[in-house]
């Protein structure tokens, strides 16, 4: 627990609030999936909220995030309204991708969400490219790639980190090591269990943090963002965390991990951990935290209603936006 950090109270409450927002949106989506409101895949972020929350708390709207197939949390933490995320999964015209993307293709460039992706790896490269733009144009902006442990043995990880390093690009490479690439354990696919150590191989700082401790993530990301903004180049941050729900909603979740293991990680629930700290440190009462939960639940219910009432896109627009202009 990063108890020695100097993070102000409002920030801690805000981090708590964002994590609860992600958690409740995900749970609402899981219920909606069971109700048949979600037409395609739905990968929830439950258990990993501290990572997106801790990193994105440092980002401005103009900073950009390139996310993964498990990207709802990143979208919400970056500022995409829950109703736009939900409407997108419902396939509605008010979804953040106007119904063209679904869970794995959330786009909201207005707030710097440059897409979640259905392919593991490319977002690492794209984040480097955004860093290239910022550096080329002399903008003091930061680009973040979130990716799982499943991406770090993909060539894109190697090529992207190397490019960002040689060009000194303002990029954060945030690995959410949740121990499993879908169902393949990281211990199986990588002889060296350390991801953070790999930073040194590319000549960039590599940091390992407790991904369920939002304050630790916040602290590490803050240093990396500051370095990036001051032309100090990229940083690799490995956040050790755990996915509580199945890989995707509706998938069975056995065989590759034990219920005991899941139960142990539930004890280390990032919201629970921060809540305990806030009450222990006297920053908030349990009643205040409960009130945050109630407020967000009401917001989430409204978002669900909004998404349900949003129309489906006009079929005649199915081939719009393939090109910037018709040639």
């Amino acid at each position: 627990m990063a108890s020695d950090l100097n993070i102000n109270k409002q920030t801690q409450i805000a981090l708590y609030r964002t994590m609860v927002l992600i958690r409740q949106t995900e749970e609402a989506l899981a219920r909606s999936h069971q109700q048949g409101l979600i037409h395609g895949a739905c990968h929830t972020y439950v258990g990993q909220e501290a990572v997106a929350t801790g990193v994105c708390a440092h980002l401005k709207h103009q900073d950009v995030v390139f996310s993964t197939h498990r990207g709802h949390g990143h979208a919400l933490a970056k500022g995409v309204p829950p109703r736009e995320v939900i409407a997108e999964l419902f396939g509605r015209v008010d979804g953040c991708s106007r119904g063209r993307g679904g869970s794995m293709h959330l786009f909201s460039p207005e707030v710097g969400l440059m897409g979640t992706t259905g392919i593991v790896g490319p977002n690492i490269l794209q984040a480097a490219g955004a860093g290239y733009t910022f550096k080329l144009l002399g903008q003091s902006l930061v680009s973040v790639a979130f990716f799982g442990d499943g991406a770090v043995n993909n060539g894109a990880f190697h090529e992207g980190l190397n490019l960002a390093a040689i060009y000194q690009l303002p990029v954060l490479f945030v690995c959410e090591n949740n121990l499993y690439a879908t169902e393949v354990p990281f211990s199986f696919s990588s002889r060296n269990p350390q991801v953070g150590e790999r930073g040194a191989m590319y000549g960039m700082p590599g940091i390992v943090v407790d991904g369920n401790d939002v304050l630790a993530v916040y602290q590490a990301a803050g240093e990396a963002v500051t370095r990036a903004r001051s032309d100090g180049g990229p940083t690799l941050i490995e956040c050790r965390t755990y996915r509580i729900r199945a890989h995707a909603e509706g998938m069975r979740d056995g065989t590759y991990r034990s219920t005991q293991e899941v139960a142990q990680w539930k004890e280390r629930d990032p919201i629970k951990l921060l809540g305990a700290r806030l009450t222990t440190d006297g920053i908030a009462t349990q009643g205040e935290l409960d009130e945050i939960g109630r407020t967000i639940r009401a917001e989430t219910e409204l978002a669900i209603e909004f998404a349900k009432n949003s129309p489906f896109p006009d079929p005649r627009t199915a081939t719009d936006f393939i090109y910037s202009t018709q040639a």
Partner: protein, 325 residues
């Protein structure tokens, strides 16, 4: 009018655009201080510096994906592949990301990226440096695909490519790089999707791309002495493809041959054929003919290499055969 080479014309277009727009940058292997293996960026590094003319590791997927992200965030990358064969290592980035970002973002992101490289069989380049895979990119929604055949077209189309907000594959036949041709001093742009009727004729229409335009013109000159009048159409851009000009020509001639150095199956000839059959069936006086490079990896030895590509004589014979149909 002055005559300059194909490469010089494209480079001049690049220089003009880089001067105009500071968000344009070029990456590739050896395109920085060295000026490019084919001289595509010669002299520009000194003027615009390393961030705008940046060498890369040999990591095609990496720098293509990187340029995708750059294009999403407000700059205009040009990837110089030297040989377009190398683009294949970045296929996922191209097809799944670059071609789809505009659509997935419902048009709120643009994808102003140019991917350029040499194509074509010749000089015993062998099979990893001879590919012409334009039909693959044409198959994918989202790309513009340009195959210029003259210095004039190279410059005008390259400038349009750089200004396009869509991803453009700019594919230059290596046998044309030193071809000289008239290029005006003043700035100009050529539109995509507008074919060039490079020779007017009455009896048969030939559609050809890149180097094959020149081979077909040689064949047409040969056939003129036999009283055969050939119309030659260079589409210049494969996506978008100007079928109106082709159909108009077939309305006149009734006969069509597509000469394509690349492979026949699912190729440009197949696409042109299908569209002509759909839209110009009643103009056809003979079956549509295709003359393609052999459906084979490209061999090295000069005798083998020559055997797998159409040449002036095989084109002329294909035209003669078509007229007998």
């Amino acid at each position: 009018m002055r005559e300059i080479t194909f490469t010089a014309a494209a480079r001049e277009g690049l220089a003009e655009e880089m001067e105009r727009d500071p968000t344009i940058f070029v990456v590739g292997e050896g395109i920085g201080a060295r000026g490019g293996n084919f001289g595509t960026t010669l002299g520009l590094y000194e003027k615009y510096g390393g961030m705008r003319l940046n060498d890369t590791p040999i990591a095609e997927r990496g720098f293509v994906g990187m340029c995708c992200g750059a294009a999403m965030t407000g700059s205009r990358p040009i990837v110089d592949f030297m040989f377009a064969d190398f683009i294949l290592d970045a296929m996922g980035e191209l097809l799944n990301q670059i071609a789809k970002i505009q659509y997935m973002s419902s048009g709120r992101l643009k994808m102003p990226i140019v991917l350029r490289g040499c194509i074509g069989i010749g000089n015993s380049a062998a099979t990893h440096h001879s590919g012409s895979y334009y039909s693959i990119y044409t198959h994918i929604p989202g790309f513009r695909v340009v195959v210029p055949s003259t210095p004039y077209d190279a410059k005008g189309l390259f400038k349009t490519a750089i200004r396009s907000d869509d991803p453009v594959m700019f594919l230059e036949h290596k046998s044309l790089l030193n071809l000289k041709g008239e290029v005006p001093e003043q700035e100009y742009y050529l539109p995509f999707g507008k074919a060039n009727v490079v020779r007017h004729g009455e009896m048969v229409t030939v559609v050809a791309l890149g180097l094959m335009v020149h081979k077909t013109l040689e064949a047409a000159a040969l056939l003129e002495q036999e009283g055969i009048s050939v119309q030659v159409i260079d589409p210049r851009t494969v996506a978008p493809l100007d079928m109106d000009t082709v159909l108009e020509s077939i309305h006149k001639t009734g006969r069509l041959l597509i000469v394509d150095e690349s492979f026949a199956p699912c190729g440009i000839g197949a696409e042109v054929t299908a569209q002509v059959v759909s839209r110009g069936f009643d103009d056809l006086d003979a079956p549509i003919a295709r003359l393609n490079g052999a459906h084979t990896p490209t061999p090295y030895s000069p005798t083998l290499e020559a055997a797998v590509v159409p040449n002036t004589e095989t084109i002329a014979q294909a035209i003669r055969d078509l007229l007998k149909e």
